[in-house]
């Protein structure tokens, strides 16, 4: 497929936003159980929610560049019964609503204690909102992944690994950003987030590597023989019927060399997984926000390469009909 930058930015940016929100939720639920020191809600959770919201909005803006008719985008919420894209269009604003409410509650101190048990563990209203937001986050990850994973003839995408990778890679980038954010505004949480980031990055490495392994061994179900219905081992296209370009020649192939594809694969494998882990641990041992921020930026650049490769690797069967001018 042709990697469209609007979709690359949409999926990576909302991934960061979702990851940041999951990190805030994780931190607050740990501190509700008194496993972590309670944070100043305004500085950490409030501002953290703003960061998450900014990334989600950035993704939403990027998505509009993919549409031919953005003024009709509201219609995309109507076919949620059948279309994963429609479900994503619904899940994203729901998540943004919960993140907004959560951020407002934390920033303006509208939080309330719902109950306190005998051990002194309290349940805050904001945590209830965060739990709803967490559910919306996972729903959005599933919708985003399923948009690709439900297309059965794009065999590279037609696997649960697609959804798992979207979830883990998005979560990882968000956790890395929150690690940098915590080193600045809540230093005692830095190590907590750093360790979680490392665990998620390692997990994401194994699932992404698994999908690379799987995709290298795919046997295409469609061949020129099934595409034409001609039973002969030697079939060669002589003409696609036109000499100018068309949507068929532009949208479904990356037009990059094999060398470039290979390079992109190694670039993302290095930038998304080992480099951020090294920078994370360097940043944590030096207590340096800038190194941690560098870890996030490097990983985000790597994720752009990862998403490019994800699209470019998918081989659409329609290309069988467009092999030569």
């Amino acid at each position: 497929m042709h990697p469209a930058f609007s979709v690359i930015f949409l999926t990576t940016l909302i991934g960061v936003g979702q990851g940041v929100f999951l990190a805030l939720f994780t931190g607050q639920s740990y501190s509700a159980l008194e496993l972590l020191p309670i944070q100043d809600s305004m500085r950490f959770y409030g501002n953290g929610a703003i960061i998450a919201l900014v990334f989600l909005i950035g993704g939403l803006v990027a998505s509009f560049f993919h549409l031919g008719r953005p003024e009709r985008a509201w219609r995309a919420a109507t076919q949620w019964r059948t279309s994963w894209l429609s479900r994503e269009v619904i899940a994203l604003p729901i998540l943004m609503f919960f993140v907004f409410v959560y951020g407002a509650m934390q920033r303006f101190g509208w939080d309330q204690t719902l109950f306190t048990n005998t051990a002194g563990v309290t349940l805050q209203l904001s945590l209830v909102v965060a739990t709803l937001g967490m559910l919306a986050t996972f729903a959005l990850f599933i919708c985003t992944g399923m948009i690709y994973a439900c297309l059965k003839f794009l065999q590279e995408w037609y696997t649960p690994l697609t959804v798992i990778n979207y979830t883990l890679l998005g979560t990882a980038s968000g956790f890395v950003l929150v690690t940098a954010f915590a080193s600045y505004s809540a230093p005692e949480l830095m190590r907590f987030y750093g360790i979680w980031s490392t665990i998620i990055i390692v997990g994401a490495f194994f699932t992404r590597a698994a999908s690379l392994f799987r995709n290298n061994r795919i046997k295409a179900k469609s061949t020129l023989q099934t595409a034409l219905g001609v039973r002969h081992n030697k079939i060669q296209q002589k003409s696609m019927g036109f000499m100018g370009g068309s949507v068929n020649t532009r949208d479904f192939f990356h037009h990059a060399s094999l060398m470039f594809m290979k390079r992109m694969k190694w670039i993302f494998l290095v930038l998304v997984f080992p480099v951020p882990i090294i920078l994370l641990w360097l940043g944590m041992s030096n207590n340096s926000t800038s190194i941690l921020l560098a870890a996030f930026i490097v990983q985000y650049l790597g994720l752009i390469a990862e998403r490019w490769f994800f699209f470019a690797q998918a081989n659409h069967p329609q290309n069988l009909y467009y092999q030569t001018i």
């Binding site: 109507t78 076919q79 002969h232 696609m240 019927g241 068929n248």
Partner: protein, 243 residues
């Protein structure tokens, strides 16, 4: 239930592209809006087409055969492009099975074109909506046309009658009969899309001659011992007699 469709006879198609040009002409003049052509006479021309004729070479020289292969929307009975549409712009008509796009609802997200394994949906770069073969829905029901012309433009244009149009669910129809009797098949059956359009394979007309057919083995004259004597290439009476 009705399922209108085309049946394309690859045995007859000569690859003249008349269906391509007549399709473009009819549909670019329709009420649904023109079909974009960018730089038609300049560098890198590009444009929207509903129908293409492609050419393939089967086999290796000298045993080759040329296949001209027209390809347009197959109006699948289980169209993968319809459920993925987020706006409901892409739909399959209950009444006649034609898969259509509502150009007023389409947001141009291209998701349906990803979901079509045949690559028959093209986005119009000017109107920014997805377009595809309508089976000339604005023509086949037009009461102002004589009944013989209520057919898709490509079918009427084909000089060799390689394109047949009809209801493939009606087992009495011409198209059902040729699919049944001439080995009609569907493209990429592995995806379960059940294309309504069918293709008829190239069919060779061969003369099969058995050796005993060259010489009449059961010639009754032989039984009566009055058969032709001598070798078969011996001169006959006609050869030796001057009339």
């Amino acid at each position: 239930m009705t399922q209108l469709a085309l049946v394309i006879d690859l045995n007859v198609c000569v690859g003249c592209h008349a269906c391509v040009t007549s399709c473009k002409e009819w549909n670019t003049s329709g009420s649904a809006g023109f079909m974009t052509d960018e730089n038609p006479y300049g560098k890198d021309p590009t444009g929207t087409f509903f129908n293409r004729v492609q050419t393939y070479e089967i086999g290796e020289f000298p045993n080759t055969e040329t296949l001209h292969f027209p390809k347009s929307c197959l109006h699948c009975e289980d169209p993968p492009c319809v459920p993925v549409c987020p706006t409901g712009a892409s739909y399959k008509r209950e009444s006649d099975g034609i898969v259509l796009v509502d150009y007023d609802k389409c947001i141009g997200c291209r998701y349906c074109s990803w979901a079509c394994p045949y690559g028959v949906r093209e986005i119009d770069e000017t109107q920014k909506v997805m377009k595809k073969c309508t089976l000339c829905v604005d023509r086949i029901y037009d009461q102002s046309l004589p009944e013989s012309e209520r057919k898709p433009a490509c079918v009427l244009a084909c000089p060799t009658s390689a394109r047949l149009f009809g209801d493939v669910h009606d087992s009495e129809s011409d198209v059902s009969a040729v699919i049944r009797e001439e080995g009609g098949y569907q493209l990429m059956p592995e995806w379960g899309t059940k294309p309504a359009n069918h293709y008829l394979p190239r069919r060779k007309t061969r003369m099969r001659i058995h050796e005993d057919e060259l010489q009449r083995a059961d010639n009754p004259l032989n039984k009566e011992q009055r058969g032709p004597r001598g070798p078969i290439d011996a001169p006959t009476l006609d050869d030796s007699t001057s009339w």
